[in-house]
């Protein structure tokens, strides 16, 4: 047994560190996809978000999520991961208050770190969506409560022995627990904070705001791809060769189909193979396969990835049409595909794959599992959307959510941080905005002063 603990620990630590590296991937991707005047701000957000998440998840999040308790929240060993626990003992030999995760035969701190990097990912997803206008301190506060409260509660339902897991909800690596949760938090955020100045005009025009560095964005995407090989196969939390091999390949297949189909969709629909869509396609495929990666076959993963790749293009266009400004496409990637992927489990799951005992609709399992998946998606969605909306609004009416128009025009880097990302390079403003045409100024009419100082 001792050897097994070591093997599992090596695997889980390795996987956790790959997921940790996704912090760098998101930082590069998100800043590359935004303007140079916000680079310091985005980098700062992505840099501090893991610090804040660690604090939130350590202080209370872990306990709420994995502490023994009721169907809705953990109630034991709540604070500072300090409950009784004799990990790496498992099964009957386990004695402690974190029994929902006692199946994993690794030391407690290893479990904690592995779960922490997942929690951090959910918080990072939000960062990109509200970028270029959210106040730094407000994002910090939001992330703290997200990781302290929101993520752990729905996490408890799904992975912590809560009601959804009892119901048989299947979410192997976090399509709902991590991605769509982060996506809902992002969605409520962009609805409440509003679009960037210059994005939508009163006359209904949608302005493209191109990212300032495709190099940075692509590097970020490649790092995320790399990290996902920890995210999905690592969720075994055990060094199981067959499962690891299977999930590795399934994950990659979905990712590449996401790339190929998003690229092709953009090429056909928009006329050129826009790289921003290829990147979003990769992530869409990876998100879509996340909940089901251990339960579906390789051919199914090709289909799921391909559908994810198509979906992300249309979702992006849809959000834009709804005037929901999401600079990096976080909602199109994580929300739309987190939902789709979770549903896909109910369609494509196959008995026997990695010991899975459920068949999806397409494999003769009927609509049963699909229904459960839908219940999970909706309940997590409603809960998360309401709670995060409340959080965003509470922040808005206390410390404020959005920087001033003047600061937004000059860039958050100078206003919020007193730094410039590239002080030596001469930049031009690509998106010369017709200021008085901008939809943001409608609501500003009340506060004329603000318009006054906006230049």
């Amino acid at each position: 047994m001792e050897t097994k603990v070591i093997l599992d620990t090596l695997w889980v630590v390795f996987a956790a560190l790959l997921v940790f590296l996704m912090n760098m991937g998101f930082a590069a991707l998100e800043s590359g996809m935004c303007r140079s005047k916000s680079t310091v701000n985005i980098m700062s957000k992505n840099f501090i978000v893991f610090a804040v998440s660690t604090l939130g998840f350590f202080m209370l999040g872990w306990g709420l999520m994995y502490g023994d308790g009721n169907a809705f929240i953990g109630t034991k060993g709540l604070f500072f991961v300090s409950g009784a626990d004799n990990s790496p003992n498992i099964g009957d030999t386990y004695e402690g208050v974190y029994s929902a995760i006692s199946w994993a035969g690794v030391p407690l701190w290893v479990k904690f770190f592995f779960q922490l990097v997942f929690c951090g990912t959910a918080a990072t997803i939000v960062s990109g969506a509200v970028a270029e206008r959210v106040k730094y301190i407000s994002f910090i506060v939001f992330s703290f409560f997200l990781t302290l409260l929101v993520y752990p509660i729905t996490g408890h339902w799904i992975w912590g022995g809560g009601w959804l897991s009892q119901l048989g909800f299947m979410d192997f690596a976090g399509g709902t627990a991590v991605h769509s949760l982060g996506g809902w938090a992002a969605l409520s955020g962009i609805m409440i904070i509003g679009p960037r100045i210059g994005k939508y005009t009163k006359s209904g025009k949608i302005n493209a705001i191109p990212g300032h560095s495709v190099a940075l964005a692509t590097i970020g995407a490649l790092i995320l791809w790399f990290g996902w090989f920890g995210f999905n196969p690592g969720s075994t939390m055990a060094a199981d060769p067959e499962a690891i091999g299977h999930i590795l390949v399934v994950t990659n297949m979905a990712g590449i189909m996401g790339i190929l189909f998003a690229t092709a969709t953009a090429w056909i629909k928009l006329g050129k193979p826009d790289i921003s869509m290829s990147i979003n396609g990769l992530l869409a495929g990876l998100v879509a396969i996340t909940p089901g990666c251990a339960f579906v076959s390789v051919p199914s993963s090709l289909i799921i990835g391909a559908l994810g790749g198509v979906l992300v293009v249309f979702a992006s266009l849809f959000y834009d049409k709804m005037k929901l400004d999401d600079p990096v496409g976080a909602t199109a990637v994580h929300l739309a595909n987190g939902v789709f992927g979770t549903l896909a489990v109910g369609l494509f799951a196959q008995k026997g794959i990695n010991g899975n005992e459920v068949n999806g609709l397409f494999f003769g399992g009927g609509l049963h599992q699909f229904g459960i998946q839908a219940i999970g998606i909706i309940s997590v969605g409603v809960f998360a959307f309401i709670l995060t909306s409340f959080l965003w609004l509470a922040i808005k009416y206390t410390i404020g959510l959005r920087v001033s128009i003047k600061e937004e025009l000059n860039g958050l880097d100078i206003g919020e941080h007193g730094n410039e990302a590239y002080p030596e390079f001469i930049a031009r403003k690509i998106n010369y905005t017709h200021l008085l045409e901008d939809i943001n100024l409608v609501e500003e009419e009340r506060s004329k002063q603000q318009v006054k100082v906006c230049y």
Binding site: L409, N410, I414, G418, N419, E420, P423, I426, R428, K429, Y432, T433, H434, L435, L436, V453, Y455
Partner: protein, 113 residues
């Protein structure tokens, strides 16, 4: 012919340009990113604990070469659309041009505009 050279705020370029494009005397424009200093104050930044001030502020310089009789309309259009009333709105300079040639055709004078 005259060259109208205006230093304006970058945020105002779109408004100015779309207004200019509606004038029939508008023929073309050349624009340069510049840094300027006048009455407007600079912004303080910091790095590793030390502050520094960049008192040169990014501006856009637009140049239009126009017929003498169009100078006023162009000038007025720029003023109207670039003005915010805050310090730092910029300046317009008018300079005499001796000759204009269109490289593509070799045309000279007014028809080269």
């Amino acid at each position: 012919m005259k060259q109208i050279k205006a230093i304006i705020r970058p945020e105002k370029l779109s408004d100015v340009r779309s207004a200019l494009e509606e004038l029939d005397c508008y023929k073309g424009i050349t624009m340069t990113e510049v840094l300027g200093q006048g009455n407007q104050k600079g912004i303080v930044r910091s790095w590793r604990g030390e502050k520094y001030e960049i008192d040169l502020i990014p501006k856009v310089c637009i140049e239009l070469v126009v017929r003498d009789e169009d100078v006023n309309r162009i000038k007025d259009t720029i003023i109207k659309n670039a003005q915010t009333g805050e310090v730092g709105d910029g300046k317009i300079f008018v300079i005499n041009i001796d000759e204009v040639i269109r490289i593509r055709t070799g045309e000279e004078g007014l028809s080269a505009l």
